[in-house]
């Protein structure tokens, strides 16, 4: 069932973007996992394999973009490798944060349809909110458990059949509210995490201010209530 869902989703993306996906015959969901921690990469890789996914694990946002063919703001016209069905990324990484990676993916016409899931050890509501508004599908609080991964893969493969309107709704909401958000907070272009090494840890910044209004759909409520 999950397999059919994944294939349906791939075909759907093909219609939207007009990309030739015939190279990707695999019915497995291909996940690009991004995490600077070796331990976490090993764990997430195992979790995804157990959930019958094909996994490519990289250690930075930069490498993730390279893998996708988006490095240096150059957009790929074709795919050298397998199409990526899902990106799961750590939030706090030196260089490019998961949030910055999310933005780059969502700004790309080639890859914006790929769902992005953010993982973070910090359960900061405003951070979660910001990621969801930027188009993240879900937010997992670390340490990641099998049930987290199963949930993501399950709804990813069924969601596209049942909830495409809702998904479209989330995207529409983001676009409509985009202007409001930008004007009501400090410019997100200066990331709270510095991009030079040694890395600045991702401590809550002004952008994570608790006064930012939470916009929750019932879908997002589900994430929060499942966190504890």
């Amino acid at each position: 069932m999950a397999v059919n869902g994944a294939v349906t989703w791939l075909r759907r993306a093909e219609e939207i973007d007009g990309y030739d996906l015939s190279a990707s015959d695999s019915e497995e969901v291909h996940v690009l996992a991004v995490d600077d921690s070796l331990v976490d990469r090993k764990v997430i890789e195992r979790l995804l394999k157990i959930t019958s996914c094909r996994v490519t694990a990289v250690d930075s946002g930069r490498r993730a973009l390279q893998f996708l063919g988006l490095d240096e703001e150059k957009e790929a016209n074709g795919f050298d490798g397998l199409k990526v069905d899902l990106i799961i990324t750590d939030y706090c990484m030196p260089g490019m944060t998961g949030y910055e990676l999310l933005k780059k993916v969502k700004e790309s016409s080639a890859f914006r349809e790929i769902p992005v899931v953010i993982m973070s050890s910090e359960n900061v509501v405003a951070r979660i909110d910001r990621c969801l508004e930027e188009g993240a599908e879900d937010f997992i609080v670390k340490p990641v458990k099998l049930s987290d991964v199963k949930r993501i893969i399950d709804y990813m493969t069924t969601d596209f059949r049942e909830g495409e309107e809702r998904r479209g709704g989330i995207n529409k909401r983001k676009i409509r509210d985009d202007g409001d958000d930008r004007s009501s907070s400090s410019p997100p272009s200066t990331s709270p995490s510095s991009s030079s090494s040694p890395s600045t840890p991702c401590s809550p910044s002004a952008l994570d201010s608790p006064t930012r209004r939470l916009k929750m759909t019932s879908f997002e409520e589900h994430i929060f209530t499942n966190k504890n």
Binding site: V39, K42, V43, K142, P143, L146, P198
Partner: protein, 149 residues
Amino acid sequence: MDLVQLQRQLVDYKTSLYNEGFLDEQFTQLQELQDENNPDFVVEVVSLFFEDSERLLNELTKALEQQSVDFKRVDAHVHQLKGSSSSIGAQRVQKVCIAFRNYCEEQNIEGCVKCLQQVRHEYSLVKTKLESMFQLQQQILSAGGSIPM
């Protein structure tokens, strides 16, 4: 010692590690990810944790020895250590890291140095215990038995 006794010893040992807070449920999660096709998964992840932690502890020592301590750098290393210890369920190490980060935020050098000592201590404890546990497991396997989970 016969197989049954070894297996009982392992169960008791593991239970004590949980009771004493050395390990938490995330370690159990990892064990559940192991199977006949990936029989060394836990040992592999834990070995990565050991390597990573030793590297971070060395970095922390160097960073705190500097004339002018870069607390952001120290915090970045502690954040990593906190993350990896959390991912394998090394609860006591993780807890010290939380206190350690608070001292970093306060730019409290003494507090940081104390936490470094504490985290080294907790790390070496959990390392010894996990290694003992793996040894017990190996003995059981060599005796033809299976690991009680």
